[in-house]
Amino acid sequence: MATIRLKKGYDLNLKGRIVDPSIAEAMKSELFAIVPDDFVGLTPRMDVREGDRVMAGEPLYHDKSYEQIQVVSPVSGVVKEVRRGTRRHIDAIIIERDDISDKLRHDTNGDIKEVLLTSGLWAMLRQRPYDIVPSPEVAPRDIFVTCFDSAPLAPKLSVVLGDDKQYLAKGVEVLKTLTDGDVYLGFRPGEEIEVPGAIVNTFKGPHPAGNVGVQLANVKPVNKGEVVWTLDVITLARIGRLFATGVMSHETVVAVTGECIGQPRYVHATMGCQISSLLDRMDASNTRIISGNALTGFRVEPDGFLRAPYRHVTVIPEMSKPDEFMGWASLCPSRFSIYRTFTSWLLGKKEVSMDARIKGGERAIVRTDEYDDMLPMDIYAEFLIKAIITFDIDKMEQLGIYEVAPEDFALAEYACTSKLELQRIVREGLDRLRSEMS
């Protein structure tokens, strides 16, 4: 076991933390949805039509190029709507729950890969390069599992995990059969769990220490031509549980957090449930509901659905100070910045309120070190971003595009004085690179 100290990054101390780790029950959700955009890299081909009945665990769609990769229904019920957007892009597959609650059972004595693919758990794995659902044809060099979430207001994964901790060993055993390399687990110091067969590392330091890509880069970085799988500890436990019981679990624990939540708390829920079932009655005007954390999550409406990775909801004000007069000249310490150009640093690290305003216009990159200070990897982040913008494939490869995922740049995007959309730039760069390379 090694302890790795990461110095770069920043822990944003947002208002709306969970104090009480007990878990409440969510209100019953009638509608559930799977959003294909959550499973990056797959091109959906529908297996069901509106009106079909599905069991929990039955496939909703499969991937166009690898038909074995399936995405399954989290509940039993009837497919109510296949919601399509522009150019027939599938926005969401909505299922109305019924009370029969039957679940698809898997024969876990069969081929391990086959079981993972058909259970829908494969779609929850990711691979570097490209940060997409892995191809079943390539065996990974290693598999990395992050066991904590360091994002602002993120849930403690040990709480989300709960009793499923017992399945971790089984999960590691299963993954070991899929790689010639090792399975690495990354923990916070003091929270580590010894799991037979896995290599355990601990990571000290601020966000993004919990990002699996950061852990990977600091243990054994991805090189050109290599493939590494990444997942979180919750998915690992689900894999273990599937192979121990034959049933895929779609249950989850969601941290409902943020400034606009009266009492932030954990709730039991099911993947893809309606957001409104997780929130107490609240005034939805001038609030922004985010499925996920404030850095990488997705904006959803109250009648929207919980999106992958199905464990976090953040609600922040949309605009707390409209028409702020000369905000750039403010000397008020409550106007928060991680930089000392504002006076907020004089107050120390107290909880801060943050709304969704961008607070500035988009500019060319002027300040140095902003990205590098937020990315604890051996990568010149700013030069990489410039290479992606100009789409210089050689430079991108040389500077380490294969090691990064959009989420690794989320904190840099927050900190960017020039207000560039780094996650979008990286995602588009990765997608374009993948289509050039295939």
Binding site: N223, F325, K359, F383, A415
Partner: protein, 394 residues
């Protein structure tokens, strides 16, 4: 603001001024735009704040510069006992036209450029506009300032794509343009001390002992084995006077104290790279020590000790405000050390051994501006090689 907005939108009466309207609106009010993709929260810092912090850091130099203009003037006309306020107000009215011209010309061109490209007005010139009056000699005619500013903004910035894209520091290009286009007005006895009246203030006849050359100007024309620098009325001065700043020179550059105040703000707020700033001083000290060790009357400047080298002329001002410009400087950490160190070395090298240019800081920064991308390229190449070795090591 919202009431008059429609007139400035495309199709409105004043659509040609849309960029100006946007500029004013975002100046007065923090934009209400909220994020629609990517992170949902953003830091409070933006480029406006960054630039305005640099302007604030320049204020000590600006205010001291105004006082010093008045001080030198009253000294020259033999009224060295004039009151503080008389000196300050004289300097204020003497410098103000230059500031107004610099901003009017620079911002005017930026506004027009932004409107042509339908872009937002960018903040870069906020800093350049105040730097320019601080580094040009006070007696420079305003039309020269206007021409030089226009040249620098158009050819050193806009043609490269505006703020954040320029290769050379805009303020220094202005200074260099003046220096090479009108050399007779940029050095010698008449450039740095304003002896005539400013808007009717400071009337008087210049005393007989008057010489208006800056210390470095005196060094450039010095002959003999012993070096003694004088102020404008021929009294001897030393390093202490240069540190305090009551000597002849460009308005912003004379006082080490004012410069260090600005440096402190830039370093505390983290806007300027301490790596660059420190390594410029270290480079200057190292080169200063070297030339002092081989001091010879042929090159009079080599007779200054290293510390004095840092205090005289524009060295410190360039180190704190010019070399640290992130857009034109090196952007990698190792690169910043090299970049800064070489600026220090070249500034002293040019100052001492090139008789044609009494001051080397300006040319040193411009020279290293040109080399900064190369330095970064080399540093980044090391990172790339390391990554390739990782693959080869398998």
């Amino acid at each position: 603001m919202d009431k008059i907005k429609p007139a400035f939108m495309p199709g409105g009466k004043l659509e040609k001024l849309q960029s100006v309207y946007d500029g004013m609106e975002t100046f007065l009010f923090t934009p209400n735009a909220t994020s629609h993709s990517g992170t949902h929260i953003h830091d409070g810092n933006d480029l406006k704040r960054t630039m305005i912090t640099v302007v604030v850091a320049l204020l000590p130099c600006l205010l001291f510069g105004m006082y010093n203009i008045g001080y030198q003037h009253y000294l020259a006309i033999g009224q060295g006992d004039a009151s503080f306020w008389a000196m300050f107000v004289y300097g204020l009215v003497a410098l103000l036209p230059c500031i107004v011209v610099s901003y009017a010309v620079g911002l005017g061109i930026e506004f027009i450029g932004a409107q042509i490209h339908h872009k937002e007005i960018q903040e870069g010139f906020l800093v350049s506009g105040i730097l320019i009056p601080l580094i040009v000699p006070i007696n420079t005619p305003l039309w020269m300032v206007a021409v030089a500013t226009a040249f620098a903004v158009i050819f050193a910035k806009e043609v490269f794509g505006g703020t954040g894209m320029n290769i050379f520091n805009v303020a220094l290009v202005t200074r260099a343009f003046l220096f090479f286009a009108y050399p007779s007005r940029m050095s010698g006895d008449t450039a740095f001390v304003k002896t005539d009246t400013a808007f009717g203030l400071g009337d008087g006849t210049v005393s007989d002992a008057f010489t208006g050359a800056t210390p470095l100007g005196q060094i450039a024309t010095h002959v003999g084995d012993t070096l003694q620098l004088n102020n404008v009325v021929g009294e001897p001065i030393g390093t202490y006077d240069a540190f305090m700043g009551l000597i002849a020179g460009s308005p912003g550059e004379t006082s080490m104290i004012a410069i260090l105040l600005g440096a402190a703000l830039l370093l505390v707020t983290g806007i300027a790279s301490w790596r660059i700033m420190c390594s410029v001083f270290i480079g200057g000290l190292a080169m200063g020590a070297l030339v002092h060790a081989f001091a010879t009357p042929t090159y009079a400047a080599s007779m200054l000790d290293p510390l004095s080298q840092l205090c005289y002329g524009g060295f410190a001002f360039a180190a704190v405000f010019m070399a640290t410009d992130p857009v034109t400087g090196a952007r990698t950490h190792i690169g910043q050390y090299i970049y800064g160190f070489l600026i220090g070395v070249f500034a002293i090298l040019i100052r001492v051994y090139n008789g044609g240019y009494p001051e080397g800081a300006m040319l040193a920064v411009l020279l290293m501006n040109a080399f900064a991308p190369l330095i970064d390229h080399c540093v980044v190449s090391f990172n790339i090689k390391r990554r390739l070795r990782r693959v080869a090591a398998k």
